[in-house]
């Protein structure tokens, strides 16, 4: 039985007077992977950042409409944004572990939110690294700098860091575009595992990747949500001609 976890209702995003997202309305299902695809500048990354209110840091950004997470509107007045970001993790395009030890990287989130006891932190760090398929590779060097790992490992470290706060939702903004094919494959495999426990929304410009790992796909074009459907259907016989043209590479 599919359950809706994130619901976008008529979301409009403005940078000053430029309208970057137009009336975006769709639902993200729980414990599924939802891919956001579209050409550069179509708004998919901007929409992703609306879900954890990272756009708040852009002074000229203004959001209209509602985004419901677990039933409540995260843009309502008086919402605890810190708690939201604890519940919605984010992984970025370029792996960005802090210049600290691996342990401190993963423990960063829990420490922020008040966890101090060493054994609790130890356990959380271990579980997160296990969940990110990185534990075996780093368990003997937790105190070494996170920046000493390879690109693919760094990205998995960032994933571990994000899931350490035990979020419900994991947002991934083109997480493999800076990685080589082997590392990409490992991350994709990891995402398939992650969706058992988390709801994943992933922005990707690689359509084959979206076809490989997502359950549903949303196609954005110039701020509009053109089509949103189950992935197999989306990539074999989409309804909208614009979608068809995009996935067959008629325009980039």
């Amino acid at each position: 039985m599919e359950k809706i976890l994130v619901s976008s209702r008529g979301v409009n995003l403005y940078y000053d007077s430029a309208r970057v997202l137009k009336d975006i309305t769709f639902d993200v299902m729980e414990k599924q992977v939802t891919a956001l695809i579209g050409p550069s500048g179509c708004g998919k990354s901007s929409f992703l950042r609306c879900i954890n209110r990272m756009n708040d840091f852009i002074p000229s950004a203004r959001v209209e409409g509602e985004i419901l997470v677990g039933g409540s509107n995260i843009y309502a007045g008086g919402v605890d944004v810190i708690a939201l970001r604890r519940n919605v993790g984010m992984v970025f395009q370029k792996p960005n572990p802090f210049p600290m030890s691996i342990y401190d990287n993963v423990a960063y989130g829990p420490r922020l939110h008040g966890v101090k006891q060493k054994d609790r932190l130890d356990e959380t760090v271990k579980q997160s690294l296990v969940g990110a398929a990185l534990w075996d590779e780093v368990k003997d060097k937790l105190k070494t700098p996170g920046t000493g790992l390879s690109g693919g490992q760094q990205q998995r470290l960032c994933i571990a860091r994000a899931i350490a706060t035990e979020p419900e939702i994991l947002l991934m903004d083109e997480p493999t575009s800076a990685l080589d094919p082997m590392a990409t494959a490992r991350i994709e495999e990891l995402v398939r595992e992650l969706k058992k426990r988390y709801t994943v929304v992933i922005v990707t410009h690689n359509m084959q990747q979206a076809a490989r790992i997502s359950d549903r796909t949303a196609f954005f074009l110039m701020g509009d949500l053109v089509e949103y459907d189950a992935t197999p259907k989306m990539f074999t016989s989409p309804e909208d001609k614009r979608t068809e043209d995009y996935i067959t590479g008629r325009f980039g």
């Binding site: 410009h205 359509m207 990539f235 074999t236 016989s237 989409p238 068809e244 067959t248 590479g249 325009f251």
Partner: protein, 240 residues
């Protein structure tokens, strides 16, 4: 992303695949036409030529299959391109089968070339005419991306059914009248049955064309004369 040049290359390769399909279709159609012609005119030489050509048809079908695989590996196609390449692979099978039927009929034609025909062949050539028309239409629909034209093929299959039934009735009558005719009559029945199966394969091709163009799977039966409910189970038995 470099869509433009990859897209151009993809379209060029896809056009080549289409060309191969059309050529395969033409060869299959010629095979079966010539075979029936050889049967009707008791031309053993023509029959042998048809049989010789059978290998060419198989080779082309295999080449087409490989070309489709390479296309898929190279471009990882999606959407309409994906539907096209997978459907073309299916169509290759159907068209190759029609080519095989031509060979089968040619074998019968070679055998009956020096014997007396139990009856002049009229309906069998008529079946061929319908089949040829169906093939031309299906391939033209594929060539010109015309889904409506493809759908017209479905109804034509009814005529094939009717003709086959008629031939069956006539031949059964002949067999009952003169039992020594049974062997040849059976062979002719098989030819008719083979042509009818050919019609089914052309219908498959037409279905695939519609799928490529619209993304929707249509069943030919939706466009044909409704079969009497009697055609399932016990009732059919009783009718016979």
């Amino acid at each position: 992303m470099e869509p433009v040049s990859t897209r151009k290359q993809l379209e060029a390769d896809l056009t080549e695949l289409k060309r191969m399909v059309l050529r395969l279709g033409k060869m299959a159609e010629e095979s079966i036409s010539k075979a029936i012609w050889a049967l009707k005119n008791q031309d053993a030489e023509l029959a042998r030529m048809v049989l010789a050509k059978d290998d060419d048809i198989d080779d082309l079908a295999e080449a087409l299959d490989n070309a489709c695989m390479h296309f898929a590996a190279r471009f990882q196609p999606l959407g309409e391109d994906l539907r096209a390449v997978t459907s073309i692979m299916h169509m290759a099978v159907d068209l190759e089968r029609i080519g095989d039927y031509g060979g089968n009929i040619a074998k019968v034609a070679a055998e009956l070339a020096d014997k007396e025909l139990i009856k002049p062949l009229i309906d069998i050539p008529r079946m061929l005419d319908v089949l040829s028309a169906m093939m031309s239409k299906a391939l033209a629909a594929f060539d010109t991306n015309n889904a409506e034209m493809a759908k017209e093929v479905f109804a034509m299959d009814d005529m094939m059914d009717d003709l086959e039934k008629q031939i069956m009735r006539e031949l059964l009558l002949l067999m009952m009248e003169r039992p020594q005719r049974i062997e040849q009559a059976t062979q002719l029945l098989n030819v008719a049955r083979t042509l009818e199966r050919g019609g089914d394969h052309v219908t498959n091709v037409a279905e695939r064309v519609v799928y490529i163009l619209t993304g929707k799977t249509v069943k030919a039966s939706a466009f044909r004369r409704p079969r009497p409910a009697a055609l399932n189970g016990r009732k059919e038995h009783e009718e016979r």
